[in-house]
């Protein structure tokens, strides 16, 4: 750019330099490009040739990552190369590097651990996916996520004990490591393998065998010792080292408390569905004259199912949710509640007199709705049990979900104009039992502190630490709405209309309990960094 003649020299120089600043491509660039063009298409894959298998896996084999821990020194180039070479979003990488520590004063020990998807022989993600959006490649064994199929339910995230699948907010789906199968297909090493300055990561072939129940099994004897137990999903990654690790080696973030995401739509679903089922069962058993209970139950169920859709990143694809019914409790729950809703609606129409049928059909409808509801709740319980997380084990989840059904069914029933007031005593009793049961989650606090938080202890520490105020609110709401007010209503000390605030408080109490159910769960993962801002929502 040439400055006008009448411009002062400084201004002219500013303009000239700004114009120069905006010009790209110096002659040297062009020369370098010419040199590069001469090499066009000749990717020097030989550098990485010994880092990937020469041949495809035979029958009974699959590809697996092999990590030489002695060569992994924590530079983390693998993480960023994964991000860059796969063109991932700003915060996205499918590999991570964690840390384990231990040892004595004389021999302190630390080891960085690079980790990605373990391409498990029996993948938890795949088995839990309600829409069959995962496939285990029959030839290579690579566990691939089919992005176009995913509905964004994130159940795979809960199912994977290694925290591998990651939710992508922009796309509303989950994505994960595919071992760069496109590169492997072209004879190139995966991005992380290419990028490791010390060749610590390889792709190798490993043998699989068929175990009990026909599930595939891998040799997990060389899996990382301080990682979650490999017996659940049979991870195939091997971690090799010649250095003796001390017996007390533990993840550097083992003691870090990680409150988990609340998943509000699920909190709402799992508070409202028990109420719907509880009200339905109460309506059947109590056989009240008024239809209030049936209406309340139906409304709760409709609201719960509606809100649950908000949980999905791709709700328009949700119609496919039954596809995984053979393996996924998520699909089964959707199927059962999918049947429950028309049944409950039909029963409601009967109950309020818009559909005038009676006798056996009415009774069958009532019984069927209640049974479907109970079955649905059972599926809900199993969704969480099937993640194999300690806090979500059957003995802890079933009493909570069905306990909510009892509390909210009774609280709902107590509001009915013709309800026997003595129900209040039942409600108070059930609430007391449920509170006592929930308190047992705090028992591990008495255990010795060994510098890591064992799953149950992690939950107890969360409930009394970062989640303390939510936990206190939960108790307060239950004592007031589930015990005190119902007792007063039952004893006639307060007017019957007080059952309504009791119901409201009981609902809030159960909502808080379900919120804590999600937030205080122990979430297994690979060893990470000692950073509480990670692996959950602080």
């Amino acid at each position: 750019m040439v400055a006008p003649k009448n411009q002062p020299p400084l201004l002219a120089l500013v303009d000239e330099l700004l114009a120069e600043q905006g010009r790209l491509q110096t002659p040297v660039v062009r020369a370098a490009e010419a040199y590069d063009r001469a090499q066009r298409g000749q990717f020097n894959s030989k550098t990485h040739a010994d880092l990937i298998p020469l041949t495809k896996p035979a029958a009974g084999e699959q590809y697996a990552f092999e990590v030489d821990l002695d060569a992994c020194t924590g530079c983390k180039a693998c993480v960023v190369a994964c991000h860059s070479l796969n063109g991932l979003d700003e915060t996205e990488a499918w590999r991570d590097v964690g840390l384990v520590v231990g040892g004595s004063r004389a021999a302190p020990y630390q080891q960085t651990v690079t980790t990605a998807c373990h391409h498990c022989a029996d993948p938890g993600c795949l088995n839990g996916c309600p829409v069959l959006a995962y496939e285990k490649d029959p030839l290579t064994g690579i566990v691939r996520h089919l992005d176009d199929q995913c509905i964004g339910c994130q159940y795979c995230i809960l199912k994977c004990p290694y925290d591998v699948p990651k939710y992508n907010d922009r796309l509303g789906i989950v994505r994960k490591c595919d071992m760069c199968h496109q590169r492997l297909g072209a004879g190139e090493a995966p991005a992380c393998v290419q990028a490791c300055p010390t060749h610590a990561i390889k792709v190798v072939k490993v043998e699989l065998h068929v175990g009990g129940g026909g599930a595939l099994r891998a040799d997990t004897s060389r899996f990382l010792h301080s990682a979650p137990n490999p017996s659940y999903t049979q991870p195939t990654t091997r971690y090799l080292t010649k250095r003796p690790a001390p017996v007390d080696v533990r993840p550097a973030d083992g003691a870090v408390l990680r409150p988990q995401p609340p998943h509000w739509p699920l909190v709402a679903l799992l508070m409202l569905m028990p109420m719907a089922v509880g009200c339905g069962v109460a309506d059947k058993i109590l056989n009240l004259h008024s239809s209030a209970l049936a209406i309340a139950g139906w409304l709760a169920g409709a609201a719960g199912l509606g809100l649950a859709a908000l949980h999905l990143g791709q709700p328009l694809r949700a119609w496919r949710i039954f596809l995984g019914w053979r393996k996924s409790w998520f699909s089964r729950e959707a199927l059962v509640f999918g049947l429950w809703f028309p049944a409950a609606t039909a029963y409601l129409l009967v109950r309020i007199g818009w559909w005038p049928v009676g006798g056996a059909l009415k009774s069958a409808l009532a019984f069927g709705t209640a049974t479907l509801g109970v079955a649905g709740l059972f599926c809900s319980v199993m969704i969480y049990v099937d993640t194999r997380r300690g806090f979500w084990r059957f003995a802890n989840t079933a009493p909570r979900f069905f306990g909510s059904a009892a509390v909210l069914g009774l609280a709902g029933a107590l509001t009915a104009p013709d309800a026997p007031l003595a129900l209040g005593y039942f409600l108070a009793g059930v609430t007391i039992l449920k509170l006592i049961f929930e308190t047992s989650a705090l028992a591990p606090l008495a255990d010795a502190d060994d510098g890591t938080a064992a799953p149950a202890r992690q939950t107890a520490l969360l409930l009394t630490g970062p989640l303390r105020s939510a936990n206190e609110f939960r108790v307060f709401a239950a004592v007031l709405g589930g015990i005190l007010l119902p007792f007063l209503v039952a004893s006639g000390s307060v007017p019957h209309v007080s059952a309504w605030p009791a119901l409201g408080l009981a609902l809030l109490g159960e909502l808080a309990e379900r919120y804590l159910f999600f937030r205080a769960v122990d979430a297994p993962k690979m060893p990470g960094l000692p950073d509480p801002g990670r692996g959950g929502v602080a």
Partner: protein
């Protein structure tokens, strides 16, 4: 959605790339973070703009690898908080956008009026090892010869001043003798105060490529990643390394591991040194370092092994100490006395910090006259004046004051204006709380930076928006003296200009533009610097131009016209060979040709035993160890060590914090490592907040309970502004480098609230 991840062959020697980021061309640029000097292959779109990068497989430094910072080098350029116009603080105290003309007018009028009222010394400059050599040289020449500024120093004072002084005193010139191939050719590698696994991962790659399973001795108070990979870790107490090194020297003498012929022919002062170290018995060293006698003897035995090629490597653990220069020289002494220098796999080798610390040491025009000359010598002033076409009378007889003395002069009211370029003093200078207090004593603070948001820029009166790495061209000199090319592959945002252009504008506005007419572009300035280097130990006058550097895969100094004739470059490859290379890059002929180039590209100093001192001999320099300036006591019972937190973080984070993926790789809040034995009685658990206090300030940090720090010691990463609030302002007497790595602190649990 699957289509988002589809890949296609990238061409240009690349493998598969994401289809939506397929390049239309590539070019190469040397990385602008650390001094390793890795070459990055930049993927360009049709408009010539960078869209992605991969490490350059054909560069002798990094061999197709990069650390996370290199992989993410382009991301900080696109940060939303880039400075896009000059900003001037208005009457209400708010930084307001102004145009360049206004900014330059204010810049000159304020500084000139301060100089008129209070003398020329009232203005000083603090610059950086992060800008290219040509910019550094233009700044040094402009400030000193054009603007009459007496004091200019840079952040290399914080990292490399000690190596500079130690080499200059011992070898007669600031001359790191090694080449990276030495990592691969050593039988024994001794790392003192260095954690290359994290701080220089690509150098560690070279160690791992050593085919001989070398012994690796690491002297570091922490069990770092590098210490974990060592065959022998000596966790000496902080700052007891000098004592240890003297003890090792005594032990080598006792074991008759000295090379008497080398010592006699090429050194001076050995006899005095030998009698000095005699007092450093193993028993004494064990007591003072906290090491076991057996460990010390084992180290001596490994180093003394007959026939073993031993190389010594040090970095900030040595350089940032109250007795840093003598510690570096204690390492140099070990190499000299055993004749372990000038041969493959040997050397007393300083691993540099910043990408252009070496260029800045040569051409910063601070402690040495531009080009490694001496201010005090008249013939040097005349020589430099002649080459630059300036009146030698304009050249001061004195070197600049050091960084700490410049800040002292601000405190004293002698200096009233600072021009800070591409460094973040408010964050990184030792005892940083003092800088905030000094700010109020400054009449005018100019900050020239890519970002208007650094801790320092936020305090400025005037911010000048600078283009960053990737938006300009020029040369960096890496740790092994290799000149590499940085290149313009992206447009700077808004009105941001390269530092070179800003200096040109300042010269014009100041009225001394004509003095720098020869510096019309970085490429032209490079020709000036070549002339300055001619006849110096760092002579690179044999390099033709930028293209020559690029075609050769970087060029190490010295590179005289004679070297140029002897050493082939890729450009001199015959057309026939080029054609065959295009057909079959793996043919033996091509591979052979390439390895010839690589051998020519790996050159070390002192093969002839001649050093750069007047008598050609290296000097043994030593002093008795000095106690810690601030030892722990009852009130402040812990010794705080600071250093690099992760390979993904660069210094004050003004660039690396802009990359979301880099931010995933380390905690985003300051943390403090503490031994379980210290944590347990205080009820401190990993992940909780603790309060850290020193006599100078207090902050909070995330506790990380780990046995890798010894009891009584704690460690904090330097990348958070809170850390230097604590550090103690002690300096090495020779290099004036701050001792960041040892001060007394107290650590307490903060009750959850």
């Amino acid at each position: 959605m699957t289509t988002e991840l589809v890949q296609r062959p990238g061409d240009f020697g690349l493998g598969n790339v994401p289809a939506r980021l397929a390049p239309a061309g590539t070019t190469r640029a040397v990385c602008g973070f650390c001094s390793t000097g890795c070459s990055l292959k930049i993927h360009l779109n049709a408009a010539g703009e960078a869209i992605n990068l991969t490490p350059d497989p054909d560069y002798p430094v990094n061999l197709g690898m990069a650390c996370p910072k290199g992989w993410e080098a382009l991301t900080p350029l696109a940060a939303p908080d880039r400075a896009t116009t000059p900003l001037l603080r208005d009457a209400t105290g708010v930084l307001q956008p102004v145009d360049w003309n206004h900014a330059l007018t204010v810049f000159c009028s304020r500084l000139k009026s301060l100089q008129a009222d209070h003398g020329k010394r009232t203005v000083a400059v603090l610059s950086t090892g992060q800008i290219v050599m040509e910019e550094m040289a233009l700044l040094g020449a402009l400030a000193k010869f054009g603007m009459g500024i007496a004091d200019i120093d840079s952040n290399t004072r914080q990292c490399m001043a000690t190596s500079h002084v130690a080499y200059k005193q011992s070898f007669g010139f600031d001359a790191p003798p090694f080449t990276y191939a030495d990592f691969e050719e050593s039988d024994v590698l001794v790392f003192v105060g260095a954690n290359p696994c994290i701080a220089h991962p690509i150098m560690w790659q070279r160690v791992m490529r050593n085919p001989g399973h070398p012994a690796v001795i690491v002297v570091d108070p922490r069990r770092t990643e590098t210490a974990m990979a060592a065959t022998l870790h000596l966790p000496a107490r902080p700052k007891s390394d000098l004592t240890l090194l003297y003890g090792l020297a005594r032990e080598l003498i006792r074991r008759e591991a000295v090379d008497p012929a080398f010592v006699a022919a090429h050194t001076t002062g050995f006899a005095e040194f030998a009698s000095f170290v005699d007092a450093f018995t193993v028993a004494r060293v064990a007591t003072e370092t906290g090491l076991r006698q057996a460990e010390i003897l084992r180290a001596a035995e490994v180093i003394a092994r007959p026939g073993a090629r031993v190389s010594y490597w040090w970095t900030m653990g040595v350089n940032q100490s109250h007795q840093a220069t003598r510690t570096a020289q204690a390492i140099i002494n070990l190499a000299l006395m055993t004749g372990q220098i000038g041969k493959p796999g040997t050397g007393a080798n300083s691993i540099t910090g910043q990408c252009n610390a070496m260029g800045s040491r040569l051409f910063g025009n601070a402690t040495s006259l531009i080009g490694g000359y001496d201010y005090a010598k008249e013939e040097h002033r005349e020589h430099v004046g002649r080459i630059l076409g300036i009146n030698p009378g304009l050249i001061s007889h004195q070197a600049s004051r050091a960084y700490d003395r410049i800040l002292d002069a601000v405190d004293d009211g002698e200096i009233r204006a600072l021009w800070i370029i591409a460094t973040n003093t408010a964050h990184s200078w030792v005892n940083s709380g003092r800088f905030s207090r000094l700010r109020d004593k400054l009449d005018f603070l100019v900050v020239q930076d890519m970002y208007a948001t650094t801790e320092t820029a936020r305090q400025a009166d005037l911010v000048l928006p600078a283009a960053g790495w990737g938006e300009k061209e020029g040369v960096f000199i890496n740790s092994e003296r290799r000149l590499g090319l940085a290149r313009k592959v992206a447009r700077a945002p808004g009105q941001a200009l390269s530092d070179f252009a800003i200096f040109k504008l300042v010269a014009e506005a100041w009225g001394c533009g004509a003095q720098f007419a020869r510096w019309s572009s970085p490429a032209a300035a490079f020709q000036v610097l070549k002339e300055l280097s001619r006849g110096q130990p760092c002579d690179f006058s044999g390099i033709r131009d930028y293209e020559h550097i690029d075609a050769s895969g970087g060029i190490q100094w010295p590179f005289t016209a004679a070297d140029a004739a002897a050493i082939p470059d890729l450009r001199s490859t015959s057309d026939d060979l080029k054609n065959r290379q295009a057909q079959d890059p793996q043919s033996p002929e091509i591979v052979n040709h390439k390895s010839e180039i690589v051998n020519a590209a790996e050159r070390r100093l002192f093969a002839d035993g001649r050093f750069f001192t007047p008598d050609g001999r290296a000097k043994f320099l030593f002093d008795p160890p000095v106690p810690l300036p601030e030892p722990p006591d009852a009130g402040y019972p812990f010794l705080l060590n600071t250093g690099r937190g992760s390979s993904a973080q660069w210094h004050t984070g003004s660039r690396t914090d802009k990359s979301a993926v880099l931010r995933k790789l380390a905690p985003n809040v300051p943390w403090i490592e503490i031994n379980p034995a210290d944590a347990a009685p205080r009820g401190i658990v990993t992940g909780e907040k603790v309060a850290v206090r020193s006599r100078r300030g207090a902050t909070t940090a995330l506790a990380v309970v780990t046995p890798i720090v010894q009891p009584g010691q704690v460690f904090m990463p330097m990348h958070f502004p809170e850390v230097n609030v604590l550090t103690f302002p002690a300096y090495d007497p020779h290099s004036r480098q701050p001792a960041y790595k040892a001060c007394a602190v107290a650590v307490q649990r903060v009750e959850a609230g």
